[in-house]
Subunit: 418 residues, 2 copies
């Protein structure tokens, strides 16, 4: 890398001021933020981000999917663009680092390069992808850019149809616009995303930087155990077909089985609904969302069949009927090998320790990887806390991550992929 | 009993026509009815009942708690009134016999006695108690009549404050009116309620009539298991504090324990809520409603302490915090001994087999027993099904029950308590 590039560093004070400012928008008062996609707090964060882009002398852009970005022309008009970014929305009662760190670091990288007056082979763009966390569609902004959304996806979105329509209205968007946000892959030079690890591995091994190699595969099912509704006071215990027993037995057994027999895999039942839901009626149905993740495809498939078999077994044991409704499945994805090397070199050149990691979470980078070389930089998460107000990354690590993002950006922009 | 009384019988055809008519109001199309208190269907059923009262030449009465009744003057103006009745509301997606059978039988008894032109030592009243099933307050109408409701009860009703206010508005009622429905005990000669058993005992022993001796005691708690919210993909299984595991383990173990070790007792968990409730967040809290019932007070107390200890043990096992919020407790109640004898004699004089039973469910009779001698007549429930569209009682048994109600009414009204 040229000398004039390798000396560039993030403006620590400005970056930190930005981070503190965004952490106040939708603050839950306990260190976390509550900024679900297109909520009042999220819309306020978007307005704030737009203002920061304009204050920095960058060109503000808004696409039909609600993605906000700041554009920095460092090259010819028709040169490809290197995208940097993440997302400003959060899960309900989430943490202040997840997503926001990557968006603000991207903005800061563009400001530093803008101030340095560098001319590069690519243009640069710092982007805030809309609805990453799945309140409406999930990874909506990045999927729209990648052209991975269809009218069908919007007709049956994860958060329900009315939440989507309401959200779009609140943000001044519409469905046709979402599909129009698709970009021509030839216009993109690549994508880099800085993000907290959301797991404990970097902290436990006292390492600075994680280079993401693979995104864990995921599979979701709606499992419905059905028994019989009965009066809870008059129906003898041994005559009941209580759906809650099948669901409870499955939840317990699935957790034990994955903990003991599926290394690096996870299972989660984040919601259970008993129906009809009255204190004096034996539950007829117990409906739950089963989520499972594995870093390799073979393991994901084996985990899926094992857990479905387990659910069937538990239903049979309690004389219940089981319906397993498939929701979605995403096989594990490998990040671009060349970009992984660029991130490793960037970290090494800054004297930072690094390790290869798989990501247990979904990210916009996984989606954008479909249309251009993409990579992810992880920084440590204290205690591995994530999707929680306890989420915390020491500021030193945030700075390390932002400087790796800056250095890797310059390497990628100047095509030093190896 | 005088001969002119003992020959009186229910008008089978009219009674059945009424029962078929009311079963259509709020019919769920599968043999059940959906008539939660003050829903459109319930209001329609109330209007229909009022019309039947007026068609029969009885005096229609409405009190401030929304109780509808038909009054038959068979005695002096200041003579006490013998109340007969039950309720026309249902649980969501409930059965067509629970409550409605008792109200229509009471109406039919009054019509038969009216037609016979009998003069009795008491007046008679067929009553439909409002909100028995607990959508708003639970046993609201009978508690109002018994003077057991306070402003405090209405300030924190079982179904929530807004549901109560909305329900009252829909029915043209108000809170002050509810409290005004209290009756002077000296005006009441007694209360009789015909009801389906809601359990399998009469059917299993091929018996016609159950004479209720005791109402099972009940105790309700809100149990809240609290762990920690974490990202479901990035938090290793063994590092989680998953609240769903404590709740699941408790639900399973409580059911097994009560089935094996607490004869004639029941436990039910009719609703569970996981929070924050997202598929990709490890549940921080699992909140459930625990309901337990036992026919003797000692057993109820032992069951309560055993299950709370079990919940604590399961919380500790999964490293969770447990909060047990007491909701309410009602000790088992004995029905009036004299009225029990009247019902037995009535059944015997009609050649019907009978047995003493405790009731596993709450009933208006339990509440009215606080202010006057009260008794309950049970008829068989096929398969013990209850609070379900599968609820079914053969018509022969309904007729038997209504004739026992008529016969017992005449015995009670003429003070043949033994």
């Amino acid at each position: 890398m040229e000398d004039k590039f390798s000396d560039l560093r993030i403006n620590a004070e400005r970056f930190q001021q930005d981070f503190e400012a965004i952490s106040h928008i939708g603050s839950s008062g306990d260190g976390g933020v509550d900024r679900p996609a297109f909520s009042d707090a999220h819309l306020a964060a978007r307005t704030w981000f737009r203002q920061r882009i304009e204050d920095a002398g960058l060109t503000f852009r808004l696409d039909g999917a609600g993605n906000h970005s700041g554009f920095l022309k460092c090259s010819a008009e028709n040169a490809p663009t290197l995208l940097l970014g993440s997302h400003l929305d959060s899960v309900p009662k989430g943490g202040r680092f997840d997503g926001a760190l990557g968006v603000l670091a991207a903005l800061e990288v563009l400001r530093v390069i803008h101030e340095a007056g560098l001319h590069l082979p690519t243009n640069l763009e710092a982007i805030d992808f809309s609805d990453e966390e799945g309140r409406l569609v999930g990874l909506m902004g990045s999927n729209a850019v990648a052209g991975s959304l269809s009218e069908k996806d919007l007709a049956k979105p994860a958060g329900g149809r009315s939440a989507l329509l309401d959200g779009l209205l609140r943000a001044g968007l519409n469905e046709a616009g979402i599909l129009s946000a698709k970009r021509d892959p030839s216009t993109l030079a690549g994508f880099l995303e800085l993000h907290i690890e959301q797991g404990p591995r970097l902290e436990q091994e006292s390492l600075d930087i994680g280079v993401v190699t693979t995104m864990t595969g995921i599979c979701l099912y709606n499992l419905k155990f059905t028994g019989r509704a009965d009066h809870s006071g008059t129906t003898p215990m041994h005559q009941r077909l209580d759906a809650s027993l099948g669901a409870s037995n499955f939840v317990l057994s699935a957790s034990t089985m994955v903990t003991e027999k599926f290394l690096n895999c996870t299972v989660n039942v984040g919601s259970i609904e008993l129906m009809p839901g009255a204190s004096n009626i034996v539950p007829q149905c117990a409906s739950l969302i089963l989520e499972l993740r594995a870093p390799e495809l073979d393991t994901l498939n084996r985990l899926e069949s094992t857990l479905l078999e387990l659910a069937n077994h538990k239903a049979g044991y309690h004389k219940l009927k089981l319906e397993a409704e498939f929701i979605e499945k995403h096989p594990p994805n490998t990040m671009d090998i060349g970009v992984q090397g660029v991130i490793r070199n960037a970290a090494s050149s800054l004297g930072l320790s690094h390790i290869n990691l798989y990501s247990g979470a979904f990210h916009d980078a996984e989606v954008i990887a479909r249309i251009c070389p993409a990579g992810m930089i992880f920084v440590p998460s204290q205690g591995g806390a994530s999707h929680s107000p306890r989420e915390f990354t020491p500021w030193k690590d945030c700075m390390n991550g932002a400087n790796v993002l800056l250095n890797a950006t310059l390497r990628l922009a100047t095509s030093q992929i190896n």
